[in-house]
């Protein structure tokens, strides 16, 4: 069933190029260190992201620069960069939205260049579980992107 999507906000734009790749930074709690792969929560959504887990666009920023930005500006270290294509997102019944031009709300942390989100908002809990499992299968199929860790210097670290 096609969800009823909320209107894309001013300064936001749905990403329609199915071939474009989106980067996702994987932090410790999202990562299975024994098997060296992310878990379901890595594909979102999470309470803090308002059902809009964060990604960055490969058309704007490289996987390495995306990870570097995360290491310099986030609250926790990235253990690696994983990816999805916009087509993967659409196949899971979701949509990808570029919100990089939307100014941050008061208290909202800064966004990396090419910031985008995967929109889970209209999904029921069961749909959400199906969608994130589909995304994780796609993400695992693509494998980890090759990046180098510059070390964590996050300016929002607890």
């Amino acid at each position: 069933m096609t969800p009823t999507w909320p209107t894309v906000e001013t300064n936001e734009a749905q990403i329609t190029n199915a071939g474009e790749v989106l980067w996702r930074q994987i932090t410790k709690s999202l990562y299975d260190e024994d098997n060296r792969r992310p878990g379901l929560l890595a594909c979102g959504p999470q309470a803090a992201d308002a059902r809009k887990p964060s990604f960055t666009r490969s058309s704007v920023i490289s996987a390495q620069d995306s990870r570097d930005w995360h290491q310099n500006h986030s609250a926790s270290a990235s253990l690696g960069t994983w990816s999805l294509s916009v087509g993967d997102v659409e196949d899971a019944g979701l949509r990808a939205v570029d919100d990089s031009k939307r100014p941050p709300e008061p208290g909202e942390p800064g966004k990396p260049p090419g910031h985008a989100y995967v929109d889970y908002r209209p999904l029921t809990k069961a749909e959400m579980k199906d969608a994130r499992a589909k995304l994780l299968l796609a993400m695992l199929g693509r494998g980890e992107e090759s990046t180098t860790d510059i070390g964590f210097h996050g300016d929002r670290a607890a």
Binding site: T27, K28, S29, L30, D32, D34, N35, R37, G39, L40, L41, Q46, A47, A48, A75, S76, A126, K129, D130, A133, K134, L136, L137, L140, R156, A157, A158
Partner: protein, 383 residues
């Protein structure tokens, strides 16, 4: 300590001047400095334990060390506290003696920053060993009463003239940064193995996953029973999570104070035990990584351990273990083209099952309110 003359420390001075158990009067300087350092460490510890309070009357006099014996074999000096010293500060002075040795060890390790030895700001510390002549050595030995571990630190005249003086220079340049690293308290939870408990002094030692051993204290006498029960229940050092005030030195936890709650996690030394301890150690918001996330409940961790053990005993594949934002656990099995998850809620009385195969439009969803239902799902998906 002391119950009438218990040994506080032993100082051995080696070199020609000390042969035959002779103790030159000059060497008494070092023993006086040692006493001054222990007292300074004790004063500091007491003030940190009792912010905004004056030191009690007679506190300083409680640490009058006496030389009870000078033994042969270089000059070996046995130090005790005075026989009538009040017992109420025993632990404080014991800790202070251990702190002096810990800091001295830190100073002699070129790989450790001088900030690991905050007592070094005292002239008595910077001058410690300065009366030694070339080829002489001072050795201090004491027993850490909480672990019964014998601690021994040796300092040569060469180390004093080279290493310690280098540290003095380092200290001068490091002082501003040291000030920034002032002690502060943070109320939070910390998990680890309980490795020592002194019920009389209401003190304990916790081996934390991320920060090493941390000493702690509690005020509520009722917690003694809870902590003893935990120790009696487990064959090896049990894993506990304490809700308490955590005192930091800079970014490093240094002391645990005012414990208000103790939770016990039965850990069985299995390959997945470290992961469970790691999850038990997560604070609220998972320490900044996941805003809004709850601490992981021990009920969910217990249930996760039982389910993992069940599938492993059945010869099946062990799942990956993840936290959930609600404070529960997600067990996940990934195989080629299939993902299954079993979510345990924080009270461990509700289990949600999900499975999706590659190409499925819709996954299968189920739930149970009892753990046998969770066992059955886990067995099915872990084949």
């Amino acid at each position: 300590m002391p119950d009438g003359g218990a040994e506080f420390a032993r100082i051995r001075l080696s070199g020609d001047r000390f042969t035959g158990g002779r103790l030159p009067v000059d060497a008494l300087d070092e023993i006086q400095r040692y006493q001054a350092l222990v007292l300074a460490a004790a004063r500091q510890a007491w003030s940190e334990e009792h912010p905004d309070e004056e030191l009690p009357e007679g506190f300083d006099d409680s640490l009058k060390l006496v030389i009870t014996k000078v033994e042969n074999g270089s000059a070996q000096v046995l130090l005790e506290r005075e026989l009538d010293a009040p017992a109420e500060y025993d632990q404080t002075f014991d800790d202070a003696g251990a702190e002096v040795l810990r800091e001295l060890e830190a100073l002699l390790d070129a790989n450790r920053p001088v900030s690991d030895a905050p007592l070094f700001q005292l002239k008595d510390f910077q001058a410690f060993g300065s009366s030694l002549d070339q080829g002489e050595m001072i050795q201090i030995t004491s027993v850490d009463r909480s672990t019964q571990r014998r601690v021994e630190v040796s300092l040569s005249a060469e180390a004093v003239s080279e290493d310690i003086q280098e540290r003095v220079r380092e200290f001068a340049s490091d002082r501003r940064r040291e000030r920034r690293n002032a002690l502060h308290l943070d109320q939070r939870a910390i998990a680890g193995r309980l490795i020592a408990l002194d019920a009389d002094r209401r003190s304990f030692r916790l081996q934390s996953l991320h920060f090493g051993d941390i000493d702690g204290r509690y005020d509520d006498v009722d917690l003694t029973a809870a902590l003893k029960n935990v120790l009696d229940t487990s064959a090896k050092a049990p894993v506990v999570r304490l809700s308490a005030d955590l005192q930091f030195r800079g970014t490093t936890p240094w002391r645990i104070k005012n414990v208000t709650d103790v939770e016990f996690l039965e850990i069985d030394g299995q390959p997945w035990s470290r992961k469970l301890i790691e999850l038990a150690s997560l604070g609220p918001d998972w320490d900044g990584e996941m805003p809004g996330a709850e601490m992981i409940s021990f009920a969910a961790l217990d249930a996760a351990r039982d389910i993992v053990m069940h599938v492993v005993n059945a010869g099946r594949t062990r799942p990956a273990i993840f936290p959930t934002e609600e404070g529960g656990i997600s067990l996940e099995w990934v195989s080629a083209g299939s993902i299954a998850s079993l979510e345990i809620n924080p009270d461990a009385d509700h289990f949600e099952f999900h499975r999706l195969r590659q190409g499925d439009e819709v996954g299968s969803h189920a739930e149970s309110s009892d753990i046998p239902g969770a066992f059955a799902f886990a067995e099915e998906v872990s084949q």
